[in-house]
Amino acid sequence: MPPIISISQLTKTYASGLIALKAVDLDINRGEIFALLGPNGAGKTTLINIVCGIVNATTGKVLADGHDVVREYRAARSKIGLVPQELTTDAFETVWATVNLSRGLFGCAPNPDHLEKVLHDLSLWDKRHDKIMTLSGGMKRRVMIAKALSHEPEILFLDEPTAGVDVELRRDMWALVRGLREKGVTIILTTHYIEEAEDMADRIGVIHKGELILVEDKSVLMKKLGKKLLTLQLQVPLAAIPPELAEWPLAIKAHGHELEYTFDAKADHTGIASLLRRLADLGIAFTDLHTQQSSLEDIFVSLVSDKPEMRL
């Protein structure tokens, strides 16, 4: 199946001369959840805004469901819903009026049933007659999501949907996102919470200083780049690592009660077997052992560690 979004050689230079995107190529598969990660100023919002028609690309091409987002903007945009990073709402409008406006803007005939369902899903139904300015920040965020879903988009962009959002709303939101995916909606989200990407995404892209430095299936990414940690609970605490063990990268933890061995999960030869044999030879006994896969966060940090300006 062709990708639902196809971005090729996309560059953006802002009027200030700042290069926000450098020749980005990216395909988004139909029906997947794609997480775009990267530090502040990496170019995530710029990329999303170009696809959605808010920012003009300098060069390059974007197809949404086969339609060029510039030349066939009507066809392309009618399939896309966007929840922007900034909370911007019409303060004086009611929730009901604003979701109706959104639906109309995207060329859909009125459909109160659909809008009612969206508002119920987002726990906004009771607030439908309230002016938006009287709502809390989290409620406003829900309104923005309701607006984006008002025209039943096939592609949904969520630009940092969980920034400044409490645990409950975050949980609701992810439940909603999963529900949408089950209906076949493609979701592209950005986040600074790596555990979210780890939880939600099918694939992950990392963007850094306008360059897409990595795109990978989440599971492959974890497998490919993941370090594993072997922890041994020692029967007798060790004060120092014996010189006979120098060839393994070991660390002593928990005041000598634990020995940690970091190894590359993707390597053919992990070194575990030989380590355990050597320990037996040296008479170092252990009561328990377990291994642990490193998190996406660890992967992410190691990926960009040669880029010291990277902050998360």
């Binding site: 802002y14 009027a15 959605c52 028609g53 808010i54 920012v55 003009n56 903007y73 009507r74 066809a75 392309a76 945009r77 009618s78 896309i80 966007l82 922007p84 900034e86 911007t88 709402t89 019409d90 303060a91 004086f92 409008e93 009026a97 109706n100 406006l101 959104s102 639906r103 109309g104 803007l105 995207f106 060329g107 859909c108 005939a109 009125p110 607006k147």
Partner: protein, 258 residues
């Protein structure tokens, strides 16, 4: 799913949204012109007008009615149309317009359409208020309506451009306050330019507002400062200039998109 060539749902949605914005301030929008017009009539019509000769056989109070309507049409059209788009730029809600499957002209149609609607309602209100103070006569109602509508469209388009151009609230009021109001006062809203010395009269002819007011007054009383044909031609020229301006904005994305 086929994509329609004209996104009527969007145009209608924006139009209703803008009208709802006007309705929120309906009392103020109705009272302001009514009170202002009444004041003008008390001051210029009754107090001063009673000591003025009639101009071209029209009493002074009646003479200033077309100019008063035009003055309100200019300033209100400008501010209504500019505010609608500017406030979206200012608050950031414009993201939704930019990401929606609507063409630039549909956007203009909706925004300007709503502002024009309000301008026409306003014009009718002022006319009705004026009728309470002075005996009114409209010789060419068809032309009157046409000039009123075309002028309203022109100034609302102008306002739309202004709203896109403005980078701050002060710039938004700059053009109406510094240019349009003075030009209107100097453009024969309250006097016939025939009353000016010849040199000033020539200078005044460079004031575009003269043509609008003169043509509009002609539709009421059949007398004009400049030939009616010239007025109509000028009105069309201004309209086309504003349309071209809007077209240029959208072609270049000027101050709407990065």
């Amino acid at each position: 799913m086929s994509v329609p060539i004209f996104n009527r749902h969007a145009v209608w949605a924006i139009y209703r949204f803008e009208m709802a914005r006007f309705m929120r301030t309906a009392v103020q929008s109705v009272l302001t012109p009514v009170i202002t017009t009444s004041l003008y009539f008390v001051v210029f019509g009754s107090a001063i007008g009673s000591r003025m000769n009639s101009i071209d056989g029209v009493s002074y109070g009646a003479f200033i009615v077309p100019g008063l309507i035009m003055l309100s049409l200019f300033t209100e059209g400008l501010s209504n149309a500019s505010f609608g788009i500017y406030v979206q730029k200012f608050t950031g809600t414009i993201y939704e317009l930019l990401s929606a499957p609507i063409s630039a002209w549909e956007m203009v149609l909706a925004f300007v359409g709503a502002a024009v609607t309000k301008s026409l309602v306003l014009g009718a209100l002022i006319l009705a208020t004026a009728a309470l103070f002075v005996p009114l006569q409209i010789l060419h109602p068809g032309w009157m309506a046409a000039i009123l509508t075309l002028t309203a469209i022109t100034f609302c388009l102008f306002g739309f451009i202004l709203g896109v151009w403005a980078k701050g609230w002060e710039q938004l009021s700059l053009i109406p306050f510094l240019i349009v109001t003075p030009l209107t006062f100097l453009g024969g809203a309250f006097y016939s330019i025939d009353m000016l010395p010849p040199a000033w009269r020539t200078v005044t002819l460079f004031n575009p507002i003269v043509y609008l007011i003169s043509g509009f007054r002609w539709s009421f009383y059949g007398t004009a400062d400049v030939a009616v044909g010239t007025s109509l031609a000028m009105i069309m020229v201004f309209l086309l200039i504003c349309l071209a301006g809007v077209g240029w904005i959208f072609k270049t994305g000027y101050r709407l998109k990065n």
